[in-house]
Amino acid sequence: MDEAPGRTVSADQETDTQYVEEWVSGTEVPDEMATGEGAQEMALQESGYRFREQLGAVVTDDYLYEEEVSEDERMIINMGPQHPSTHGVLRLQLELEGEMIKRCKPVIGYLHTGMEKTAETLTFMQGPTNVTRMDYLAPLHNELAFSLATEKLLGVEVPPRAAAIRVLMTELNRISSHLVALATNGMDIGAISMMMYGFRERELILAFFEKTTGLRMNHNYIRPGGVAADLPPGWRQDVANILKTIPARLGQYDDLLKENPIWLSRTQGVGVITAKECRAYGITGPILRGTGVEWDLRKVFPYSGIDQYEFDVPVGAHGDVYDRYRVRVEEIIQSLRIVEQAAERMPKGDFRADDRKVTPPPRARIDESMEALIHHFKIFTEGFRPPPGEAYTAVESPRGELGCYLVSDGGGKPWRCHIRAPSFYNLQALPVMLAESMVADTIATIASLDPVMGDVDR
């Protein structure tokens, strides 16, 4: 070790020479190079080559890595389950190489409450109360899938007014769900205004839901045999108000996002998936349509008479985050068209099937008819007993194919009630979309999937 002369302490000098550690001011060695510029002065004492390199006169590339990064450089990090941008309790295991995602594994189950097991302990009449809590952003679609499956087992047809009310309400629900998707997608990328706007418009629709069903969420409104109650007085005014307000607000969203360069650079070409991969992984809904596949269960396997309404199926082309965003905006416009037609041609008549074994009698009849009282009592205590069999029905929820597989053994409760949750399957697309992408794009990609963890875990 090369030490300064005079600082060396040898064994024989130890007694007469003491090394002073204290810094006495004024004893510093004067710096010959010091100028008035202090630390900002360019380092002249380095070699002339280095100096010219710093000036830009000489260009070298000796700072680049030549050797390959070894396997040990990979890092596994957890994202979530408590993370504001994972839309609930979704946990991702990401294997990173620098900023690049090599592998990704979604870990779910944090919100599992055994709702399919609970459904086996509830009667068919109580079933919608349970399933409406699964996809809490599209509760009416859950109820519709369950009710259609029960009606298929029973062989019951709902009257035209009930079908029209179902169409009206589910399409409004689609709008409110897509508004949340746009709002959270915007917020995750940094467009905070979008979140304010999205939740503001959603409030309009939720207020109408509250007026009609009594609850803002978890409505239990669509039930086997029809709907729980007729549309409230003044509903035409409310629907007209929604139809007038939302298209103008959609223009505001377009001003905010559609050609915003930051938004475009964060979404275009990010989280790409192809149509073939979508089919292989069972992915449905706006993600599938974003790849250019015109697949909508409302067109292919129509339910509730939705084939009598005029609407288009918007599709994207590239299968990236931006196309999914556009598909959702266009679907809001198409849903508004359906709502308008449903409000115009709302048929008169009963809002539930006239089958006293399935639907409760009108309240007024209970006071005057013994049979009505008995039917009312029987339905709400033990429900009804569909014949043994199996039924699978699917509706196009805002997130994709929402199916209900009901098995009846002839009893008053479903032997098996399985909900084919679209978010559960769509989440499988995440490792495909995130492979070889940047960490920062994870947020945008998750938001574009629009997963609802209540739907994933059930």
């Binding site: 189950g109 292989a280 069972g282 597989y405």
Partner: protein, 171 residues
């Protein structure tokens, strides 16, 4: 699965041209082809081959995999239910396969449809049916150290007893 009741009788004429090649290849499977629904019940050993044949016949999407526990009312005890979908033909096909309780294993459909990754794990988690050939046969919804399979009928729903403050005095 002959006791499955549907609201239509099996048709006598030749099946739909879309599904006919698969019907010809698996004549021993129990087919129920009607205008509204296409159902088939196969032996579990053939499930993977049948799915591959269906995929080649145009059923490119596996929509859903689930199971039913018939407990004491039927034999074999379990039934794996696979819902297939064809985008090009706009048809659905429901495939079922019985699984005995003493050997609850089924060949995995993962090589045919990679989208069954999550649902097969869910069926394993909730019913205890093992899918052989699945790359990651672990629990997905329940905690890893959970004992039992909740959607089996002999797994009780369970409840937490509510103890009121004065309840011991009443008894």
């Amino acid at each position: 699965m002959s006791e499955v009741t549907t609201d239509h009788a099996p048709e006598a004429e030749a099946p739909h041209p879309v599904i006919a090649p698969v019907v010809d290849r698996f004549p021993e499977a129990r087919w129920e082809i009607s205008d509204t629904e296409w159902l088939v019940d196969v032996d579990r050993a053939q499930l993977s081959d049948l799915a591959a044949a269906c995929r080649d016949a145009g059923f490119e999407v596996c929509v859903d995999v689930t199971a039913v526990d018939w407990y004491r009312s039927r034999r074999p005890r379990f039934e794996v239910v696979v819902n297939l979908l064809s985008h090009q033909h706009r048809r659905r096909l429901r495939v079922t396969a019985g699984v005995p309780a003493d050997d609850p294993t089924v060949p995995s459909l993962y090589p045919v449809y990679p989208g069954v990754n999550f649902p097969e794990r869910e069926v394993y988690d909730l019913f205890g049916i093992t899918f052989e050939g699945h790359p990651d046969m672990t629990r997905i919804l329940m905690p890893d150290d959970w004992e039992g399979h909740p959607l089996r009928k002999d797994f009780s729903v369970g409840s937490v007893p509510v103890r009121f403050k004065e309840s011991h005095k009443v008894i």
